[in-house]
């Protein structure tokens, strides 16, 4: 079947226009972040680029020469700490459990799976009030421990589901031969299954990191001044009266850089991860 060149060209033009729709806002916000302050919110596209918005992320000037640093750098650090620790705990815990679900047959296995799936599907808003009371009553409000605890609970179901299918793909015989040679069950798990599923673990880790990095609603409620993550910090640039576009645009760009890098790293595996369902809201 031969297609005329014109069809192909039209198809490419349409596809490129569609792609522009998806890239446009990112480029728009990037352009905005390098604009001078005076025209930052105006759609003027001829200007000399500055880094002033990026600077204003970190500090702002008061009166003459006085400089006050903003909460941006601490909140970035918070995001990194919380996301990393949560990712480690989520992946560690779920590797163990999904291995059990993948290899052992026991009563209530499917029911447990249904429970995990329900936990995955229930929106985080439904857990909001109990989590809020829980965090407040145990003194975990505005602590890293509380944030990590809550996010681990929210991130686990998806990871369990994903890792189980990765483990299902690893042949049982490998562990069995290892165990015949005198390895314990746990030894077979750590020495045979974990190394073999390293790519899967990497993908799941990156997904969990992104999930935690982007998670907004529970963090809005359970973190305060000292553990506020980046997304919550960014959301505060929109006040009741105006939007501080300059630092907001710069902050958005800074926050999506790690996202983009990680998304591109796991590009090949992203589809397997996405088919489970839309990113939890």
């Amino acid at each position: 079947m031969k297609r005329s060149k014109i069809t192909t060209i039209i198809a490419y033009i349409v596809a490129i226009l569609i792609a522009l729709y998806f890239v446009g806002p990112i480029i728009g916000i990037f352009i905005m972040s390098i604009k001078p302050v005076a025209i930052v919110a105006l759609p003027i596209f001829i200007f000399t680029p500055t880094a002033v918005n990026y600077a204003s992320l970190f500090y702002y000037e008061i009166s003459k020469g006085g400089v006050v640093s903003t909460k941006f750098a601490p909140s970035m650090l918070n995001s990194i700490i919380i996301s990393t620790v949560t990712t480690l705990s989520v992946v560690g815990l779920s590797a163990l459990t999904s291995y059990a679900f993948s290899r052992f047959r026991f009563r209530g296995r499917f029911e447990a799976g249904v429970y995990i799936f329900i936990c995955y599907s229930v929106p985080s808003i439904a857990f909001l009030y109990p989590i809020f009371y829980f965090v407040n009553s145990t003194g975990l409000y505005d602590t890293y421990l509380g944030a990590v605890f809550v996010q681990t609970a929210l991130g686990l179901p998806w990871t369990l589901w994903m890792l189980k299918s990765f483990f299902d793909g690893i042949p049982k015989e490998l562990e069995e031969s290892g165990m015949i040679d005198g390895c314990s069950r746990f030894g077979a798990f750590t020495r045979i299954v974990i190394p073999l599923s390293a790519p899967g673990l990497a993908v799941v880790s990156i997904f969990t990191f992104l999930f935690v990095w982007n998670l907004f609603l529970p963090m809005l409620v359970i973190t305060g001044v000292s553990t506020k993550p980046l997304v919550v910090f960014l959301s505060e640039y929109r006040t009741q009266y105006d939007v501080q576009w300059g630092p907001l645009a710069a902050g958005s760009i800074v926050s999506i850089i790690p996202t983009c890098i990680m998304a591109l790293l796991i590009q090949k595996y992203i589809v397997a991860g996405l088919t489970l369902g839309a990113v939890k809201g």
């Binding site: 198809a11 890239v23 026991f106 249904v114 439904a126 009030y129």
Partner: protein
């Protein structure tokens, strides 16, 4: 699990009950740690229910928890505010996921069929939007639709087309459509990625034999591509509807704040502001319990087969 035992001394034959317990104990260390966390979700549902039947009003200082029974549930079921939120959420969950599935599928077809050489580039582009934080995505679109003359779209309308500007966030339907735009922006690329992978996994030989038989491209689509992708489409729809029904908080929080006059007041947003801004904790927790029940019923009813296949 029993293979390890072979190398050890001959097993003492204990009672079957003892063996069962032993087997359970060897599984426990793998499962218990995560289920401690997962149990929180169950415990929170229970405590949510507890709050919703015991706690009436936090706005009166020093008031004790009073047992109010099903009062909060009756309010949630009958009040027009909540009915409005239910209707809006249902509206979005029936419009938004099918639309993004349809458009994602269409774009995937277009690009896999006509732009095969450019596929890696398009894939790279489409990977990014679903991964960006919804908060940031919402800000990006806020920039485009800003009501005042600083919004890009309004500026374009006024200065290039000479049209009057539109106050997008003051018009009910415009506000709704903007939210749809925001969700589609991250929804379509997601569906695109899923569908390109699915389309590429269809064996090429099927198309070749269809071509030999002289099938037109419409028929090839109708009789090969569509039937093979049908299960995937159904799964995506089922998953999309439930996440569309209860999700979508971030965009509403940043862009419309539920306005104008509750026209974009989604269930998730209502559950948040009703408790945290208006202090009606009882009604908010009742709503949360109802939402959880909806999810549980839906998952068990509609997604059972999907899970059976994977678990």
């Amino acid at each position: 699990m029993e293979a390890r035992k072979i190398s050890q001394e001959p097993r003492k034959y204990s009672s079957s009950f003892k063996r069962k317990i032993k087997g359970k104990l060897s599984i426990a260390p793998y499962i218990v740690p995560s289920f401690v966390f997962l149990f929180i979700l169950f415990a929170s549902l229970v405590s949510c229910f507890n709050y919703s039947i015991n706690l009436s009003d936090l706005t009166i200082p020093g008031s004790e928890n009073v047992f109010v029974g099903m009062k909060n549930y009756i309010i949630v079921m009958t009040s027009s505010i909540f009915q409005n939120s239910f209707m809006i959420s249902i509206f979005y969950s029936l419009i938004s996921p099918p639309l993004s599935i349809f458009l994602g599928f269409a774009i995937a077809l277009l690009i896999t069929k006509y732009c095969r050489r450019g596929l890696p580039i398009f894939r790279t582009i489409f990977v990014i939007p679903p991964m960006i934080a919804p908060i940031v995505v919402s800000y990006m679109w806020l920039l485009v639709f800003m009501s005042t003359e600083t919004g890009y779209l309004n500026y374009f309308l006024k200065n290039f087309l000479g049209l009057p500007t539109i106050d997008f966030f003051a018009r009910p339907w415009w506000a709704r459509i903007i939210l749809l735009f925001v969700w589609q922006w991250s929804g379509i690329p997601f569906q695109f990625l899923v569908f390109t992978a699915a389309i590429l996994s269809i064996p090429q030989t099927l198309y070749e034999s269809a071509e030999i038989d002289g099938a037109s491209s419409v028929n090839t689509f109708r009789h090969i591509t569509l039937p093979l992708l049908k299960p995937l489409i159904i799964t995506l729809l089922l998953l999309g509807i439930i996440s569309g029904l209860l999700g979508g908080f971030d965009a509403v929080f940043v862009i419309t704040k539920g306005g104008p006059y509750r026209y974009t007041d989604l269930l998730g947003f209502r559950a948040y502001i009703h408790g945290f801004m208006y202090n009606h904790m009882g009604e908010a927790t009742a709503l949360c319990v109802l939402m959880t029940v909806i999810v549980v019923v839906y998952v068990i009813g509609a997604l059972r087969e999907h899970m059976r296949a994977q678990w």
